[in-house]
């Protein structure tokens, strides 16, 4: 019986064009689009140093990390990315910017670090990448300090490592760039799109959601058993589509995932489970209206992915800085962060923390689904 249900579920899901579009075609299209956009951006090989300004206000000196990062990428280093002019007030910097002496300037005021740019050329993008990268590192540091205060000594290690990363950037090797944020967030989004699968499985077994569901409820089998088989089937499909996407990113677009393949497989699997279970909850809670369901699904997964940095890498760090709890309740963030942690850190604490969150999330989702779906009779159809 299991095999029968499993095989037919696989067949019918794989042939479902809409399902396959959202879970497979759309992410690959988006990835290709990113690839195209970033390949232009990375033509920055032949750039000269970019002149930027830094406003040294009272608070600026307090953050020696920023200073050391700036030193690491500016004329102070062997391999400069930026030439930095220091100003004592924002007005001076503003004037220099409008006179085109500098491409932009950094201000570190009470609400954090800001980048002021004149236009959106390539140079500005690179400057922005630097800021993105800086914010990302400082956010990680904050997070580590918050979650693991005793691990403070490890931080300086991370920072040093990242400093060397950026100085290596122009030598071409395994450079971290904020484009990774996009790709990792894309994987997060794709995992969450597994929700389409979960949603579909619920409607296929609930008598009040589809005629085929009604037929199933009249058959001599437990609908929860059928549902469990269906979930196994679609989680497998979803998992394969994620692997396909990761393979596409890695082999076609040359996105760097590090080389710990087993962990990548694990993170993908955890992400799939979270996505499928999320859809199952949506399907169980919202009874009628396929359009409404898909709308809510796309809306919520896009919002989560947005905060995980899908559209704009800096959003991720801004969000983490502004509302740290967001990162703790956002499955898209857990998924992309798991990939991050794999890429940036030698240790697995943060990686496993994310994976555990994903599994726990799936578990809670399925508890809710079970509570709603265990009823065997319907008050109305």
């Amino acid at each position: 019986m299991f095999f029968h249900l499993f095989i037919y579920r696989i067949k019918s899901s794989v042939r479902n064009v809409q399902l396959m579009f959202w879970t497979l075609a759309f992410p690959i299209l988006l990835a290709s689009f990113f690839g195209l956009a970033f390949s232009n951006l990375n033509k920055a090989d032949a750039f000269s140093e970019i002149p930027i300004g830094v406003v040294k206000t009272g608070t600026f000196g307090a953050d020696s990390t920023l200073q050391s990062h700036l030193d690491a990428v500016s004329s102070e280093s062997d391999d400069p990315l930026l030439t930095i002019t220091y100003y004592s007030t924002a007005e001076e910097a503003e004037t220099a910017l409008s006179d085109k002496q500098i491409k932009g300037f950094l201000v570190d005021d009470a609400d954090g670090l800001h980048l002021h740019l004149l236009s959106n050329g390539l140079d500005e993008t690179i400057t922005k990448q630097f800021l993105d990268w800086y914010l990302q590192v400082s956010a990680s540091v904050e997070r580590i300090v918050r979650t693991n205060p005793s691990g403070a000594p490890a931080i300086s290690g991370i920072l040093e490592k990242n400093v060397t990363y950026i100085t290596e950037q122009k030598t071409g090797a395994n450079a971290p760039n904020s484009t990774l944020t996009y790709y990792y967030a894309l994987i997060g989004m794709t995992c969450l799109y597994g929700a389409f699968m979960g949603l579909d499985q619920v409607s296929c077994v609930q008598a009040n959601q589809s005629p085929a569901g009604a037929r199933l409820n009249l058959a001599p089998v437990s609908k929860l058993k059928v549902f469990a088989c269906s979930l196994c089937a679609v989680t497998l499909i979803q998992y394969l589509t994620i692997l396909l996407l990761v393979a596409y990113l890695s082999f076609v677009l040359h996105v760097d995932f590090g080389n710990r393949i087993g962990f990548i497989l694990l993170a993908s699997f955890a992400g799939c489970c979270a996505g499928v279970s999320f859809g199952a909850v949506l399907g169980a809670v919202i009874k009628k209206g396929d359009g409404i369901k898909s709308g809510i699904l796309i809306g919520s997964t896009m919002t989560m992915s947005f905060f995980a940095g899908l559209m704009q890498a800096s959003i991720k760090y801004a969000a983490i800085k502004a509302a740290p709890f967001l990162a703790y309740i956002n499955p898209a963030e857990w998924i992309s962060d798991a990939f991050y942690a794999l890429y940036y850190f030698d240790t697995y604490d943060r990686f496993f923390q994310n994976v555990a969150l994903l599994f726990a999330f799936s578990f809670v989702m399925y508890l809710i689904v079970y509570a709603i779906m265990r009823r065997q009779q319907y008050a109305s159809l």
Binding site: H4, R15, N16, S210, L218, Q377
Partner: protein, 311 residues
């Protein structure tokens, strides 16, 4: 008794969809549940199948109480729901095999059953088709095949001929009679009285959640006052002049005129055609077509509820 429903009450909020419904279906019969749209046929079926919860009442199927987990009972039931319930991404063959597989786990036993079902509904040329490519009638047939492939002892069909072309409709009705001959008990709901009259051995007429009359079609027709409906076409003279005289006859239930036609209904058990024609001739009126109809289930419905079955 195959199905026994006692005192069944089902409410949707304030609406009483089933109002103390009593119903019995006997082994081997084709039981018709006839009623206008919204009379509660589908609700009754879904309660019998334990798909819907109900407020009051008792339901026995094969002499055992029916519950959502009565899998032993469910194995012997085949359902063809009002809405087509197939999976769009599976072909005709796969759909039948999938649903049959919920009843018959053994693949070797299942294969001939699926073949037989495809044959039965005449979808042999369409076995690789997806449901979206089938016409309305063929889709209905697939829906039926999905419900009967496992050879159930009790088959329930809820309005299987709605929106179906005449050819498919006949195919479906013949199929139901064949299934019945092969030994299955049938429950058939419809709002088409002709179909119910044609295939059902016993009929229950439903209105507003109640069964208002039950029996064979002759039983039902005997319940009402009118025996025959006689139409006499008057070629000369005005039929209105005759109404009073005819209305006074002892066996006449009603007399009316419509254009050139005189319409008379007689009391049950009286045959007044020849005396009526005699009276018309005596008045010097020449008659054209004269014909006599037996009452239909619509007349039964009309007399009991005061409204037409189809409005």
């Amino acid at each position: 008794m195959v199905v026994e429903v006692k005192n069944l009450v089902k409410r949707y909020g304030d609406l009483i969809a089933l109002d103390h419904l009593d119903m019995e279906v006997r082994e081997g019969e084709v039981f018709g549940l006839l009623g206008p749209n919204g009379s509660g046929k589908t609700t009754a079926i879904n309660c019998i199948l334990s798909l819907l919860s109900y407020d009051k009442g008792e339901i026995l199927v094969f002499d055992q109480p029916m519950r959502p987990t009565s899998y032993q009972i469910k194995k012997d039931i085949g359902i063809i729901m009002q809405n087509v319930a197939v999976i769009d991404e599976l072909t005709v063959y796969e759909n039948i095999d999938y649903f049959c597989g919920l009843y018959v786990a053994d693949k070797k036993k299942r294969a001939p059953l699926v073949e037989e079902a495809i044959d039965f509904v005449g979808l042999n040329d369409f076995r690789k088709f997806y449901p979206k490519k089938l016409s309305g009638g063929l889709l209905r047939r697939l829906n039926i095949a999905c419900g009967i492939a496992h050879k159930p002892r009790l088959i329930i069909l809820d309005e299987p001929t709605v929106a179906v072309d005449p050819q498919s409709r006949n195919n479906i009705l013949e199929g139901i009679e064949r299934l019945n001959k092969e030994g299955a008990t049938i429950i058939y709901t419809s709002h088409y009285m002709e179909e119910v009259e044609q295939i059902c051995s016993r009929i229950a007429i439903m209105d507003k959640g109640r069964i208002i009359a039950q029996g064979t079609k002759d039983d039902l027709k005997n319940m009402i006052r009118i025996g025959e409906k006689i139409t006499i076409e008057c070629l000369t003279g005005d039929p209105n002049d005759l109404i009073d005289a005819i209305g006074e006859l002892p066996f006449v239930a009603s007399a009316d005129a419509r254009e050139k036609n005189l319409l008379v209904t007689t009391e049950r058990g009286h045959n007044g055609l020849s005396s009526l024609v005699q009276i018309v001739h005596d008045k010097g009126i020449q008659t054209g077509r004269v014909y006599c109809e037996l009452p239909t289930l619509n007349d039964v419905f009309l007399e009991i509820t005061g409204k037409e079955l189809r409005d």
